[in-house]
Amino acid sequence: MPRPKQRMVTFSIDGREVQAPENIMLVDGAKYGDVEIPVFCYEPKLGAPVGACRMCLVEIEGIPKLQTACSTPVKDGMVVHTQTERVRVAQEAVVEFLLINHPLDCPVCDKGGECPLQDISFGWGGGRSRFIEPKRHFVKPLALSPLIAIDRERCILCYRCVRFSQEISEDYQLVLEERGAASYVATFDGHPYVAPFSGNITEICPVGALTSQPYRFRARPWDIEGSGSVCTLCPSQCNVNFTVRDERVLRVLGRDNHDVDDGWLCDKGRFAYQAVHVDERVTRPMVRDGGVLRAVSWERALSEAAAGLGRARGRVGAVVGGETTNEEGFLLQRIVRDALESRDIDSRVAGSPSLELQRALAAPALQATVADLEFAHAVLLLDCEPVDDAPILDLRLRKGVRRRGVRLAIASSRPSSLDANARLRTRFAPGTGEALLGALDAALGVAGGDSGRRDDVGRLAQAAGSDADSVGALAELLSMAGEDVVILYGERLVSGPRADHAAKALLNVAGRLNLTGGREGAGLLCVPAGTNGRGLAEVGVLPHAGPGLAEPALGGRDAAAIAAGAAGGELTALYLLHVDPVRDMPGRERWVAALDSATTVVAHADFLTEGIREHATVVFPAESYAEKDGTVTHPDGRLQRLRPAIAHQGETRSEWAVLAELSRRLGLDLGVLTGPTVTAQLAEAVPFYAGITHDEIGGLGVRWQAREAVTGFPGGFELGPFDLEAPPDAPATDDARFALGTFRSVWAATEVEVSPALKFLHPRQRAELSPVDAARLNVLEGERVIVGANGTSVSATVALRDAMPAGSVFLQSAIPEDSASMLDGPLVEVRKA
């Protein structure tokens, strides 16, 4: 869909000629002439203006009544007055009206000092009130939720929070109760407002009515400093502003970046900062001594790690977690490959396609951006649940559908929270993404006139547990919607033993939709499992790829093979950079065995989760994301910079420095003196990052695909079309056996588990079942079931989902107890507990 093009027009404001884009709202247009028009209810992020607060009344020549500048588009030749007596009186009147019921308790209000109501009262108010009647009173404050306090006396009923709930997050929980002067904000059912994005209302509230419970009474605005960085708790990589007081993070606010987060944050991103300052955090180096980890000096920890790794030279395997920066990943792969003469390093949880296909999928011509999701003609959401995998994309898709008419199609095994927004939903059996892509490829062929593929559609669709009609409809929607199609897919789609085949099928589909030609506004966008999954792959943290997706001297093992290698004694040391494979990776038992067998396990960790606590021989304290200096790469190729907001906590050190020191002790001087020198080395090693500096990345990041160095992207790959091999059939389910699907909840994170405010959201295992299957198993929502396979089993609470295809059960991974990673699929048995 072409982006709206804006023509500049000239209008007059307060006697000055001003140029501004046509049809932007007058409030924004006035800024082009350095004129400020006060607003309360107007917030462009919330969509169309509502004109409720009446604060922005201005005079426009030719229109008898005063007009709300928030809802009046700028037109050529318009003559606007904001400083006339009439306007002054009207604006003063609105301030007076708003303050008659406001408690004016600014001295004890968290908002005091950063409050639009204070500022506007000062700037546009009359300075005195003629209202001597009693003000309205409410019980206050009340917990709107465990995270948000509501003070209804301070509320000026601007509707922002209600609009957020109704039109942005679409959770439809907040409403205005009662009428007129008795109106108040509440949830429609009186239950707490718990939703993945609820915290945003504290940030858009223009008064102190909605405040963050964890931040309540923690600081006054003059006590704090803001520090911009990037949230690395998920692949969305939202831009944030840390509120810092005395080297402690007290709050996280959004730092609007339209190309990344559109100005919103999820509640994990907003509240999990608490994990930076909890007692559970590891802030001193530790060494296993007499079977338990004991805090030791850096010297001892480094020398033990160097000794252990040195002994295992040639037999070291490294696993890298998603929160690792490009710099750390780059240094570690050098240590593993060059200092330790090993070759086994991986950053993906379940393997990846071959190097050629990896390059093809990452090829600049194919890449869509986050903003494209909003402007595309159609978006195919493929094997990905944004609200869990990259929450902020969920809001972007809702915006595209609601405001720009994007046609959303969903092909997934698990029902999506976006189902209601989609034109079309296709379900396939867990793990059969390859077959579904094959069927879609064939169906797109049929839609393009290749009727010979008609039989393939039915056969492949069946192998995916779907049917020809459903896939045919999907193909029709995608091929008829328009040129700009974006496929947003989850990393798991191109993982596992058949990753190559799935990748080829995906490229075929992309080719059929003409996405391989480098069209702007269309393409593929992969949501990696780890925050910096894309960056880590590009700086060489893959078994079969060096920095810049170059062929390494020797190919290595992927994560699963590393586990097998360690368990089998071929690898004797393991390096765990920001990852606890026992918690985070599939095959829990295999990892326990691997860690048991390894003689040296060096880990960088901020919490002693089970795998680290039981198996690490050396633990280096990991920096929190508020302490880090470095870069990460957004799923759409945007390099973003992490800037330290606070000093290192406890004895924590910069991890690039730790890695460099370790390397030196292993006999390889990496020549690293400062953080930026690593970035510089990185930019040299990755041809398509060439010349990139922290300065260039700046505050909003830069997509490498948009830089000249893009020509450095390696060749030696094909974009298809490929001949596809027949995929295996979906495993046959029956009355007793279900196809197992897994998902990682947005709340399944150690940061959530240890944050006092968010702990209540930390998930327990639940088994998502279709109502049909539940009836067959004779279980109800909330009852317990046992899910088992090959002699192991987990216990879970039943959660019914209407849109779940019968024969599948979904369990959560990456949780401490009863994790799905204990079970080996593809089939499991489910019975009532």
Binding site: C53, A90, F97, F131, E133, A181
Partner: protein, 437 residues
């Protein structure tokens, strides 16, 4: 000169049935209209120069012509949420002659090319809603509604939707929100309903009386209709007269007759020995006029020129036995209760005004409060999202302006009464602490 067009047969027994309505010439206009091109019917409506009977007085033909042409989902909505205090004309019309409204709506829908129409009727009009529902059913069975009406290519489905009793839902955009199943709050205009109304589709929304007049216009021709009434206020008007009159009720008049004739000759004037103190010419939201204005012609332009408005055509007469303060408080309380709360001046201004009036009544006000109250009304007028705020501020403002002396006298009297209570009389013995012991 009464009962000219709409009320011609209004008291005919069983006029609400299709049989009697048809016997009295009903649905003839529909046949005639369906035989004409849409543009010609629209031209007749335009030529009639009929102004909307709901309150705003916007020319109906002009409004209908604003709707985009061409095939798309367009809607016709009849505003039957007659909630303005003093207004009860639509009730009688719907109760006694529902088919006249339905016929008018079918013609109007034909003109704009709408295939779906709604009557949004206030929930309190339960009996009238049932009558309408029965009439719609009759019309459907007779082939006046449904597909291919009377053999033409015009389709129309008509729903009767009951509101839940909010005055604000008579505001056209709030009505549309409510009809869509949302909380009835006014929308920002533009876009106007003619462009983006119900379900974002172009929508023509008219009052009951306006739509019910359509068959008469089609029958007699627009030009002929325009000869009735006065220039700028053509046609006949149903006027509800209530308050201190001996013969309250609905009267159909030719627009432009002297107001005195309406209040005294038709409605019987105030009871013996009293005289008109002031009157609302167009429902409780119109600025009040006094007995000096009784000889003004009752039409849109004259009322506007006198600083008030014809509104929905509802005269409320207040005679000299009433205190202006009581009327002001009652009026303000109504609008405070009905304010939706979306925009600031209305939400806070109505509430503040009521509190000030209550203070006047309880003897805790000074004449200075009158200035504040007048200023609050000024600051509401023209600054709100919809006209509900103005609907309180205009009459209250006019009462303060025209009866300031009475307000001041009332304030002084109430204060004196309070002073007497607090200073002259000692509290009863039993209330003095320890007196019993």
């Amino acid at each position: 000169m009464t009962d000219l067009l709409l009320f011609k047969n209004i008291d005919e027994p069983d006029l609400h049935t299709l049989e009697v309505y048809e016997r009295r010439g009903g649905y003839r206009s529909l046949r005639k209209a369906l035989g004409m091109p849409r543009e010609d019917v629209l031209a007749e409506l335009d030529a009639s120069a009929i102004r909307g009977r709901g309150g705003a007085g916007f020319a109906m033909g002009k409004k209908a012509s604003f709707l985009p042409k061409g095939a798309m989902d367009k809607y016709l909505v009849c505003n039957a949420d007659e909630s303005e205090p003093g207004t009860f004309k639509d009730r009688e019309l719907m109760q006694k002659s529902p088919h006249m409204l339905i016929e008018g709506m079918i013609i109007a829908a034909y003109v704009i090319g709408a295939t779906r129409a709604f009557i949004y009727i206030r929930g309190e009009y339960d009996f009238q809603a049932s009558r309408l529902e029965a009439a719609v059913e009759e019309a459907r069975e007779a082939g006046y509604l449904g597909e291919g009406i009377l053999g033409s290519d015009h389709d129309l489905t008509l729903w009767v939707h009951r509101g839940a009793g909010a005055y604000i839902c008579g505001e056209e955009t709030a009505l549309l929100d409510s009809l869509e199943g949302k909380r009835g709050n006014p929308r920002l205009k533009p876009p106007f309903p003619a462009n983006q109304g119900l379900y974002q589709g172009p929508t023509l929304i008219n009052n009951v009386e306006t739509l019910a007049t359509v068959p008469a216009i089609v029958e007699m021709g627009g030009a002929e209709y325009a000869k009735i009434g006065s220039p700028g206020s053509t046609g006949t008007k149903l006027v509800s007269v209530s308050g201190n009159v001996t013969n309250p009720g609905n009267f159909e008049i030719e627009l432009g007759i002297p107001s005195r004739e309406l209040i005294y000759d038709l409605a019987g004037g105030p009871p013996d020995g009293r005289e008109v103190k002031f009157w609302f010419p167009g429902g409780s939201s119109s600025p009040v006029l006094t007995k000096d204005d009784l000889d003004l012609a009752y039409d849109f332009d004259t009322m506007a020129k006198a600083g008030s408005m014809l509104g929905s055509g509802a005269i409320i007469v207040v005679d000299d036995s009433n205190s202006v303060v009581d009327v002001a408080l009652k009026t303000a309380k109504f609008y405070r209760h009905e304010s939706c709360g979306k925009c600031t001046p209305c939400r806070e201004g109505t509430n503040w005004t009521v509190k000030m009036l209550q203070r006047i009544k309880s003897g805790e006000a000074t004449p200075m409060d009158l200035d504040i109250m007048a200023s609050v009304q000024d600051r509401i007028i023209g600054n709100c999202l919809c006209v509900l705020g103005d609907a309180m501020a205009m009459p209250i403002g006019s009462m303060i302006a025209k009866f300031r002396e009475e307000f001041e006298a009332y304030i002084e009297e109430a204060r004196a009464r309070n002073d007497a209570l607090t200073t002259d009389e000692a509290p009863p013995e039993a209330l003095i602490q320890g007196a019993a012991a």
